[in-house]
């Protein structure tokens, strides 16, 4: 009997591993298909969807770039960098104010900022359109910068605040003995100590901004002002018959974030795990 159950256990292990590997192949294949289609010709796409490209047409990437993807990418980089910097600094200040400085109505401010976590962008969409129209910021990248920052501050503050709460009180005491002001203590002591969580929040904000669609679609309409997600749908509707170029554009949008994930995955994971668990 012992040998039989041991055999079953080994068999189970092998089956589980085979299943997990097969699933990994099924999960990754669509992405491989996307990359391969980006270097095929249009005729090849329709003849046999599983075939490898006959001649690798890398020029599809150049065509995609020249048909607007280059502009969309530039806009995406600009908006992502600006809003990530703004979000992380504003959140770090808020987290510092909430954890290590005495402010009046601390509790109310905390609820106000973290309460933003539950606000869905769709709910605010219509008043925001009216607001930005009257501010003259409709179809302007400032609109995206402001909105991305506003809607990401609650989550980012939540993560940094949890981290700052775990820093021992002696840190501030040491700084105040040294005669450092609150501002100097923040910049020279607390902020450098928060580096791991800051990296996590930077990465999560890049991922969010790079991929955001709703606000980008509603608040920008001019070609050069559009970010990649919106630009790609344009590329699709304008040059919809030239599919390999659309696939090349999709690959250009996807590759930077995939690379970023593999480069910084332990920070990603910590941010994601703390975000849902704490």
């Amino acid at each position: 009997m012992v040998t039989r159950s041991a055999l079953l256990l080994v068999l189970g292990r092998v089956l589980i591993k085979a299943f997990l590997v097969a699933l990994a192949v099924v999960v990754v294949y669509p992405l491989v298909w996307m990359l391969l289609n980006g270097v095929k010709s249009n005729a090849e796409l329709f003849s046999n969807p599983f075939a490898l490209p006959v001649a690798w047409k890398w020029e599809n990437y150049i065509t995609a770039w020249n048909r607007g993807v280059g502009d969309y990418l530039t806009t995406s980089v600009l908006v992502t960098v600006a809003s990530t910097i703004a979000t992380v600094f504003i959140s770090a200040w808020a987290a510092y104010g909430l954890t290590r400085v005495n402010i009046p109505f601390n509790r109310v401010v905390l609820i106000l900022i973290l309460g933003g976590l539950m606000l869905a962008p769709t709910v605010a969409l219509i008043p925001l359109v009216k607001m930005f129209q009257s501010l003259g910021l409709y179809n302007n990248l400032w609109a995206l910068l402001i909105l991305y920052t506003a809607f990401r501050v609650p989550f980012t503050t939540f993560l940094i605040r949890a981290y700052m709460m775990d820093l021992p009180a002696e840190v501030d005491e040491a700084a105040s003995v040294d005669g450092a002001s609150k501002a100097r203590a923040f910049w020279q002591v607390i902020l450098p100590m928060c580096k791991p969580i800051l990296v996590s929040t930077v990465l999560l904000n890049i991922l969010f901004t790079w991929n955001e669609y709703l606000f980008a679609m509603v608040f920008t309409s001019g070609g050069a002002l559009q970010t990649l997600p919106v630009g790609l749908t344009n590329l699709m509707s304008k040059h919809g018959t030239d599919y390999p170029v659309v696939f090349a554009g999709m690959a250009i949008a996807a590759i930077p974030v995939i690379v970023l994930f593999f480069a910084g995955q332990r920070y990603f994971i910590r941010g994601l795990a703390d975000g849902v668990g704490k």
Binding site: L23, V27, G97, I103, L119, A120, V123, K130
Partner: protein, 323 residues
């Protein structure tokens, strides 16, 4: 491309700098000095949220009682008319049903499926394989829903797509169809794409939760001769219960905010069959120029997400497990 196991431990703050003499009483006193000046630390965040998140929320409620033509700018008060229309609107109910389907299917695959998958992965003996699999499953979550949506638009496409081609290859040619072009399959095709995109994220989080279970518990169990199934049901499952609850709420809340993939893949069609609250709101306002009605739909979304957020808060508060 492996995820190292050490990166999974809960975040531990770095040690404090060397300063052992901490005059506790003095700092207590200085810390108590309230200062309105200190408000500057939180002011940017409060102003930003107040102006661009909370104010619009209140305004939205006001707009939902108006008939509002955004092009002429004319607004007239119509009372609860928009809400009455909403409750009599079959497309509103269809959207709500589609959001609910989204939620139910996502709970089955992204929460329970991911949990079982995470247990399988964490049961592997090779650390290298654990890392590779977790990372590979997560990749679709890194790309945007727009790219994922467009990609699956092509995969479902009858002439060039690989889904029908694969079915043909497997001798299941009878099942080939225009997945996004038919009223009875469109929403399910979109939901299926979303499972592909999101399950790796949930698997990752469950892996983290499973790793936080002390290994002594498993060792004790294996000494007692407990089999793998019993181990899963009597150790793993109860100890990730809170994570499961949180994931369910996050998933359901996400399911009621769906917009991007539906917009990219079908725009709610054909014949409004794949409409969800987000796309119906968008269409009502920006296509049909019925902004008061769109605001009413937005209020419905707000109430649903608010209720879910309150439940989530309750779970988070309870979830301090002692080993």
């Amino acid at each position: 491309m492996t995820v190292s196991d050490t990166a999974w431990k809960p975040a531990a703050p770095p040690p404090a700098p060397l300063s052992t003499k901490s005059p506790k009483s003095r700092t207590r006193k200085s810390a108590r000095t309230h200062g309105w000046r200190n408000v500057v630390w939180v002011l940017p965040a409060v102003l930003l949220l107040g102006a661009f998140a909370y104010l619009p929320l209140v305004q939205n409620l006001g707009f939902s009682f108006l008939k509002w033509d955004i092009y002429s700018g004319r607004q007239t008060f119509v009372g609860a008319d928009n809400y009455v229309r909403m409750f009599n609107d079959p497309i509103f109910w269809k959207s709500l049903l589609n959001n609910s389907l989204y939620a139910i299917i996502s709970i089955a695959f992204q929460v329970f499926g991911a949990m079982i998958l995470a247990a399988m992965i964490e049961g592997l003996r090779s650390q290298r394989w654990r890392g590779i699999l977790r990372a590979v499953y997560f990749v679709p979550s890194a790309i945007s829903l727009t790219v994922a949506g467009l990609l699956f638009y092509f995969i479902y496409e009858p002439e060039m797509g690989i889904l029908n081609a694969a079915l043909d290859f497997l001798g299941l040619g009878n099942f080939t169809q225009a997945w996004l072009g038919q009223e009875n399959t469109a929403i399910f095709a979109i939901i299926a794409m979303s499972q592909w995109q999101g399950f790796g994220y949930c698997t990752l989080l469950f892996s983290v939760a499973l790793q936080r279970i002390p290994s002594e518990l498993y060792e004790a169990a294996s000494i007692d001769g407990v089999g793998p199934f019993q181990r899963f049901f009597s150790i793993s499952l109860p100890l990730v219960r809170e994570m499961t609850g949180l994931m369910m709420i996050v998933t359901v809340s996400g399911a009621f905010q769906v917009f991007n993939e539906v917009m990219v893949m079908t725009s709610g069609g054909p014949n409004n069959s794949s409409q969800v609250l987000g796309t119906w709101l968008y269409r009502s306002g920006f296509v049909r120029n019925d902004f008061g009605y769109a605001a009413a739909v937005a209020t419905a979304v707000f109430i649903i997400t608010l209720v879910l957020a309150v439940i989530q808060l309750r779970i988070s508060k309870k979830r301090r497990v002692q080993w």
